[in-house]
Symmetry: C2
Subunit: 139 residues, 2 copies
Amino acid sequence: MAEQNYKRSRQRERLLELLRSTKEHPTASWLYDRLKIEFPALSLGTVYRNLGVLRDQGLLRVLAAGSTFDRFDADMRTHYHFMCERCGAVEDLALDPDLGIEQRAAQCSGRIVTGHRVEVFGFCEACASKESRPIGPSQ
Amino acid sequence: MAEQNYKRSRQRERLLELLRSTKEHPTASWLYDRLKIEFPALSLGTVYRNLGVLRDQGLLRVLAAGSTFDRFDADMRTHYHFMCERCGAVEDLALDPDLGIEQRAAQCSGRIVTGHRVEVFGFCEACASKESRPIGPSQ
DNA sequence: ATTAATACTCGGAATGATTCTCACTTTAGA
DNA sequence: TCTAAAGTGAGAATCATTCCGAGTATTAAT
């Protein structure tokens, strides 16, 4: 899975640059739309295949945003996310990651822990001001 | 979304009992297969619809397990999960939830924070003993 | 108990993100 | 330059989830 032979491709290089240039945690289709301008013949399959390659190369992470679609993040430093329950936006949180969680999760178990993920959810600033009556639990 | 009129249905009541009786964090199709024994005419759509109703009633939570399918958990107390990267199993973690995360995430922002979720990943005990050479990053 | 209103069920079709297939093209090393 | 292997585009296939329409069950009021 990791000991693969990769060749360069302009599509993949630009995909990574694009992902690195934004804080939006884009979806596959957002990336496709942008990249399509530069590569008019671009195929959606190519975007998905390269997202998978970059993930295997450890150059991006996949954030599961509910069951509908994934979002992608090229910032490989451990950091936490905030997800808006109303508009679906994903924002980085300026919190120090708690690596003790991983130690405690491994403690007294045969598990191998490789990482952890924290997602805080609620309503982002824009939605919080519109939405005077917050909705009930949806996750 | 919450001020809905619900009527009782045996299918939904048994669905919730079934989910409450297991620690497996089942998928929709696992629940469907089990419930189908009891309700031979059961429809998959009914399972999904009722999972949605129970979620809106605050009686279960949806765990997004990667992009492929959801898992469901009727334990509404805040608690953390461990997810095996190899077999996909989901286990509860016996860690005290850190509610300070939510306060820190809300601090100095217009956000409304309603909850948070922690997922630790790696290899479960069974997989850790088989898998001598752990695989590279996949999330 | 009957009835009316409406939520619920089933089955199957529709949706939508993601993955796969395959013929052709590009890359990289000899 | 030549060749093998990885990459590409187009579209079909997959698969979890949602939607729809006609008939059924539940509830509250008569």
